[in-house]
Amino acid sequence: MDMINASKISYSYERIDEEGNTTERVAALRGVDMQVQPGEFIAVLGANGSGKSTLARQLNALIAPTEGTLYIDGMDTAKEENVQNVRRTTGMVFQNPDNQIIASVVEEDVGFGPENLGLECNTIWERVEESLKAVNLYAYRKAAPGKLSGGQKQRVAIAGIVAMRPKCIVLDEPTAMLDPKGRREVIRTCRALNEVEGVTIILITHYMEEAIYADRIYCMDKGQVKLCGTPKEIFSRPEELEAMQLDVPQATKLGYELKKAGVPVPDGILTIEELVEALCCFH
């Protein structure tokens, strides 16, 4: 069964004036198709306002599509009775770490989700321990979230989701407010969860460097999926990406420019290491 199966989903926000009349409809999603298999690592790229956050909220049933259908692990998110189960299946990590941490102690925050699921006290503690270890923050379990760095806070938020044992985790620009070190920590944690625990990861980001580890990339523009493919396929089309106001990773860009200038480097170079290797082949 597909983890995520979206067919032609659309969603529009309504702008309502003071009398409660709809004055304007802003379409955030226009017929998005998305199929994700269990265990995949998916990156969703897009400029501001491309609809990627709206898509993320759909996946967690925070909003339901106005048109089209969305099945999460076989459950229709438009049906009210499925909402809680969908939220158990797909956890969601938001952009601002401060605004999603509920408790004043790390371990209590991680325990918030399991508490909501109505688990036994012992089970909650087991899960809290496990998930704090999974994000490498066990030593900080008694700390106050306010005292942690941005990357650590975001990992606490991830641990809070992991403790609910979702099959899929949606991260909505988790690194947008972090420094480079924090970004690396968070991405490493995501990859570890994907590779070790087999959790499906949907990473929404506008940092191209973070997308190169993904199995597949969806590129969104104006509420539609414009490109979809492996990182190599996507990043060998820098011109199309540029039209969507997206960049390619620096190494890819350099490779592309070199090729245009007549140096025979292969297409779709993603990391600096690959580029170095390709260039060293000439000697």
Partner: protein, 273 residues
């Protein structure tokens, strides 16, 4: 100014008082306060003093910390003393122009000051030895009976703990906004009180906007983590009375009993200084 208020602050330590169940401490503090107001005889005050001193010693909270709690309330204290001193009628011992001080006035002034100070000591001892989280948990558990009359106890406790979590974040944000506005030429220092209050508007507006945005984000995050209110929720750290809590209850009962004894023994003697 905000930093001077020690009421409501936690003093980390590992004393018996710190380890007691927060519910026991809340009940103890309430009992102490009620006793202060019900048993106003000298023996009662002596006993209260003894109780307070022993509690402070056991708590291992430095005494000057506890005394600092009075600081923000010094004016209230002075006001009470002055009013009682001059306005209580009785046999005047000092009279000058329109000011008269009666023996009853002196007695009342001392009693009221003592009461207020003990009240502050008792309550700040509670907050010094109890983390805010334990406090909200305990309140939730103590107020649970009110659920029968449709009081949303869990929701109130949840709001309290979220408020506590966001106080430092919002303070930091206030600081940031004030600095940003100062950089743009705003002046928070000069002018009279009204002008000063008016100059806070450019701080409050963005602060409120951001607080609402945060609230919205937090609500989404809570919903995404399957929060649906208190129903069907379990506790990660359920409150459970230990042996020491029962002992503390016993101790409180002894205290109450002795207080009642002082009242019975003292009842025939009119209270005089």
């Amino acid at each position: 100014m905000l930093r001077e208020i020690t009421i409501g602050q936690y003093y980390p330590s590992n004393s018996i008082l710190h380890r007691l169940d927060a519910r026991v401490k809340i009940i103890g503090a309430l009992l102490f306060i009620v006793c202060l107001f019900v048993f106003h005889n000298p023996a009662g005050y002596a006993l209260s003093t003894l109780f307070l001193i022993s509690m402070i010693t056991v708590s291992k909270v430095p005494v000057f910390y506890i005394f600092r709690g009075i600081k923000p309330l010094v004016y209230l204290l002075l006001l009470t003393v002055i009013f009682n001193l001059f306005l209580v009628p009785g046999k005047y011992i000092v009279s000058w122009w329109i000011f008269h001080i009666s023996a009853e006035g002196v007695r009342m002034a001392v009693v009221m000051a003592l009461r207020l100070i003990y009240l502050i000591f008792g309550t700040s001892l509670l907050t010094f030895t109890t983390t805010p989280n334990n406090m909200t948990d305990a309140l939730e558990s103590l107020l649970k009976p009110l659920q029968a009359v449709k009081v949303p106890v869990h929701e109130i406790a949840m709001m309290m703990s979220i408020a506590l979590r966001f106080i430092p974040i919002l303070l930091e944000e206030t600081d940031k906004i004030m600095k940003a506005q100062t950089a743009r030429g705003a002046d928070f220092e000069s002018g009279n009180l009204i002008k000063k209050i008016k100059s806070l508007i450019p701080v409050l507006v963005p602060l409120f906007v951001s607080a609402f945005r945060r609230a919205n984000d937090l609500a989404l995050a809570m919903e995404a983590r399957c929060y649906t209110g208190g129903k069907g929720r379990t506790k990660m750290k359920p409150l459970q009375y230990q042996r020491r809590d029962y002992l503390a209850f016993l101790f409180f009962c002894v205290y109450l009993g002795m207080m009642i004894l002082t009242k019975i023994a003292d009842v025939k003697i009119p209270i005089r200084l």
